[in-house]
Amino acid sequence: MGVTEAILLTVITAATPLLIAALGELVVEKAGVLNLGIEGMMAVGAACGFAAATLSGSSLVGVGAAVLAGLALSAVFALLVLGLATNQVASGLALTIMGLGLSGLIGAGFVGTNRDAIPPVYIPGLTDLPGVGRLLFGESPFVYVSLALALGILWFLGRSRAGLTLRSIGENHVSGHALGLPVLRVRLYAILFGGACAGLAGAYLSLVYTPFWSPGMTAGRGWIALALVVFASWKPLRVLFGAYLFGGATVLQLHLQAASIGFPSQALSAFPYVATILALVVMSVGERKATGAPGSLGAPFVPDR
């Protein structure tokens, strides 16, 4: 296996959790809700996924549990911001803090437990192809799911009636409501979808990427996913590109170091955040109001008041 192929493989593993979590958040934000709780939901997903997989002995059960856990936590968030119209920023931050604490509690009994990673896909013949076999046909199932998600969301937001409804509510919930669109119900579904994605990303961390549980193992990936949505100016394919760019930057700098090519490693560690700020600057200098942020993003909605 050549070094280039090895680098690409590692880039994909590093990018996948960012991609899954960011795609979920993209849908939430497109519906006009800002959920800053990704980090917490990912952590709970990672803990529940690992716990369930260890107890049941089945990776599939683990993944299912992680998705449900992310979903359940996002339901709490939905109750607060939709049901009680609380401040979304404060509720999201609270969700992260709660999720990190809860994950430690759930995972406490599983610290120090080892598990085999969910194996990558293997298709006889195709996976063995020289050069591209492993890259195209030998990835983790999560990778294919994340790519399908990206394309699915692209189609849903751009081409489907339900997607247009969701976007219009995100742009202006008052108009949407006046048209008779079920603002709160659509937002509820979006929030739950975002929670499920964050849970799935968490499962990837604790079952594939580094198959063990330890408190704090998300290590800020939820925040990078949030930055990624802004960086991508709320467009699914740009999220895909951005996830691979952010993942690629991390992995490439590690390889540069291993190859003893002098490069300040701290600079590339800050890359995702710097890139997001730069992207924002470029976008807002280019055209007015072109950042692509949904119009009602972050604003609470109380029907008929």
Partner: protein
Amino acid sequence: MRHLIKAAGAIAFAAALTGAASAQEKLKVGFIYVGPVGDFGYSYQHNQGRLAVEKALGDKVETTFLENVPEADAERPIEQLARSGHKLIFTTSFGFMEPTLKVAKKYPNVMFEHATGYKRDKNVATYSAKFHEGRYVQGVIAGKMTKTNTIGYVASFPIPEVVSGINAFMLGAQSVNPAVKVKIVWANTWFDPGKEADAAKALLDQGADIITQHTDSPAPLQQAEARGKLAFGQASDMIRFAPKATLTSIVDNWNDYYIARVKAVLDKTWKSEDTWGGFAANMVNMAPYTNMPDDVKKAAMDTQEAIKSGKLNPFKCPVFDQDGKEVPCKGQGALSDEQVLGMAFYVKGIDDKLPK
């Protein structure tokens, strides 16, 4: 009159009660951890020390611990322990240094012990461990076990403790294998399993066949195991994560030190001092040597024994820096403690530029 007698009786009774309580009162000892006790690494080992104290002196002491204490907000929890009657408090992370000193000034009758720091006071002692002794032994093992003559080192931050670890590792490896090379990757984190795993992968992809780490998660070990390569664990015995890849782990051992210091308070012989112990003080241990042939195991044990007995110092002079210049020898036949504690250069043979 009857009331008066009753009241007097009550006061006498209460006085007797408190008297009895103070006679039986146990010494309260507090511990502050930066991470969760379940990290199976640094904080876990400190907690093992606390449990050892309870086991050894359980009839005379009572211990309390606070975990996950953020370094930026440590003053409040430390003071909370001091105020609630703890007479000896261990603060176990470098970042607790200033808050510990601040609280210690307010509570002159409480004894404090700060791990890995360098500032002391009348009632503040410091302690740390010579982890670089363990790194030297690892270097000897790696130098003998590597087939590609390339060893991967996942490092956290370029602080003296980490740099002296890298140097000790390299000197150990060079002592048995002059052709050995060490590739270093700075992960810029103490704990990020994903990034640590990627760093290990990058090193393995570039020809390393043994991975060692100065970050806290078992992820690099798992990567070595998955690729059928070898690796060393960090802070606690991590063999459960990589039964076929683990050569040994450096194990922090605070048990004896904590028991000794608690005893000193009980005997009223406690003094503020600085303790920096290695193998000899039993503050650094090696997990069992596994997955290596007997001759390598023997070499490792001999090296450990030589360091323990004082026959061998990992930084024995002459030490050469990267440019081949001899480093001034300020200790007795070896670099001085200050030189090791403030180390900011690579030794000869390391093919990397130290980040500034």
